[in-house]
């Protein structure tokens, strides 16, 4: 991975950043090979913190409201050691240890077309709401 900074935080992560710059340079250099000898220029833009900005949209107004209330539902019953979740379109809760039990990553064989370098666009029936971003 390409890192913007080698210093690691308390959780062991170094700050990622810079892969876009490398890809842009390589794409420009390689473009002529696939474009009859004529170079294509590249606009390189890091979206970065801009995607964190502004007011919450509909889902990020509704789901946090529900999660907050769900947390209180549990507390009022004296239940703890849980994490509130969305599962199969329903609000639910799981043991909090699930957070550290595994990693949630894109399922490549099911969702990513490695020949075309983009997602697959097939077999949507009964797929979860957020597709590959849902918990499998």
């Amino acid at each position: 991975m390409v890192f913007a900074d080698s210093e690691k935080d308390a959780y062991g992560h170094a700050k990622l950043g810079g892969i876009g710059d490398l890809v842009s340079t390589e794409l420009k250099d390689l473009s002529a090979k696939f474009n009859k000898g004529k170079t294509i220029n590249v606009i390189n833009q890091k979206l970065g913190y801009m995607v964190r900005g502004g007011d919450p949209d509909a889902l990020d107004s509704i789901v946090p409201m529900a999660y907050g209330n769900l947390a209180l539902d549990l507390i009022l019953k004296g239940i703890h050691g849980r994490i509130v979740v969305l599962k199969n379109g329903r609000y639910d809760n799981l043991p909090v240890e699930v957070v550290t039990s595994s990693k949630k990553l894109v399922n490549i064989p099911e969702y990513y077309n490695t020949e075309r370098l983009r997602p697959y666009y097939h077999s949507f029936e009964m797929k979860p709401f957020l597709l590959m971003a849902s918990e499998n």
Binding site: M1, V2, A10, I19, D21, V23, L27, S31, F34, N35, I40, N41, I43, Q45, L47, G48, V51, R52, G53, G54, D55, D57, A58, L59, S61, M65, G68, A71, L72, I75, I79, H80, G81, R82, I83, V84, V85, L86, K87, N88, G89, V96, V98, V99, T100, L105, V106, I108, Y112, R116, L117, R118, P119, Y121, P128, L130, L131, M132, A133, E135
Partner: protein
């Protein structure tokens, strides 16, 4: 500190890690519901830093560490992005010597210190019965640690990366995807005007969800993600084909910040 005669209990709430839109609505929902049900809510400031750095002294200025939350405060704050309680990436079980609070430096003077005993004492001093940490897998991993030490934890998942295990949805993901698509739509006109390739690097750490869904929604032609090492020549060939088959003569690729070259 809590007056148990007038409240059913005390809930502590904090937001840790990266800020996202959606945190304030969650803080608002917890506060209003808790107050309705007769619970006091204490907002712990700056992720795990506030509950770590506070002083167990009624005369101390702990305004940077915690505050009582009310309907009036959260109704206003709940409309906006960011987090009213602020945040940090503090990990109380791994505090470097330089970051140990001054009043604890005599007791904790190793190179890296576990200040969990202080966190637990602080929670007890505040009278907190239940703790609601809102965060991604890092912030919540410390919540799991406190749970193993007997603290009553109910966690809420948050990350624009949407990669907290166990849940389909983490707070912040939708707005991130919304903003990504909006910004790409702002940028594509320049790409088209100049007939160029448009390369966009996006946050997502080790997971490719933040690149995959906007791409599927039509914001980009291709995406490369951390979960699959990509061949740059293959990408170049595809993007040039996309550009040349586009009447507007441009193409777009989304690159997750954690993506890696093949070789």
């Amino acid at each position: 500190m809590a007056n148990s005669k007038s409240t059913k209990g005390v809930i502590g709430i904090l937001t840790g890690g990266g800020d996202v839109p959606g945190l304030n609505p969650a803080i608002r929902a917890v506060t209003i519901r808790a107050n309705r049900e007769g619970y006091k809510v204490i907002g712990l400031r700056r992720g795990w830093a506030g509950i770590l750095e506070m002083r167990r002294d009624h005369k101390a200025d702990n305004s940077n560490c915690f505050e009582i939350l009310t309907d009036i405060i959260v109704n206003k704050a709940g409309r906006t992005g960011g987090t009213y309680l602020h945040t940090s990436r503090t990990r109380p079980s791994h505090v470097r010597n330089a970051d140990v609070p001054d009043h604890l430096k005599d007791t904790y003077n190793a190179e890296v210190n576990d200040l969990t005993p202080e966190v637990i004492k602080n929670l007890e001093w505040l009278g907190i019965d239940y703790l609601i940490p809102i965060g991604g897998d890092d912030t919540l991993s410390y919540g799991v640690h406190l749970h193993t030490k007997g603290v009553k934890v109910v966690a809420i998942p948050k990350t624009m990366d949407n990669d907290v295990p166990g849940t389909d949805y983490c707070i912040g993901f939708s707005t991130c995807v919304t903003r990504t698509i909006q910004m790409i739509n702002s940028l594509r006109t320049s790409a088209g005007s100049h007939e160029r390739l448009l390369v966009l690097e996006v946050f997502g750490r080790y997971a490719g969800f933040t690149a995959m869904l906007p791409t599927m929604a039509g914001a980009a032609n291709r995406c490369v993600i951390p979960e699959y090492k990509f061949n740059i020549e293959q990408l170049a060939k595809l993007l040039v084909e996309d550009r040349n088959s586009n009447p507007s003569k441009y193409s777009i690729v989304l690159i997750s910040e954690g993506a890696m070259f093949d070789g």
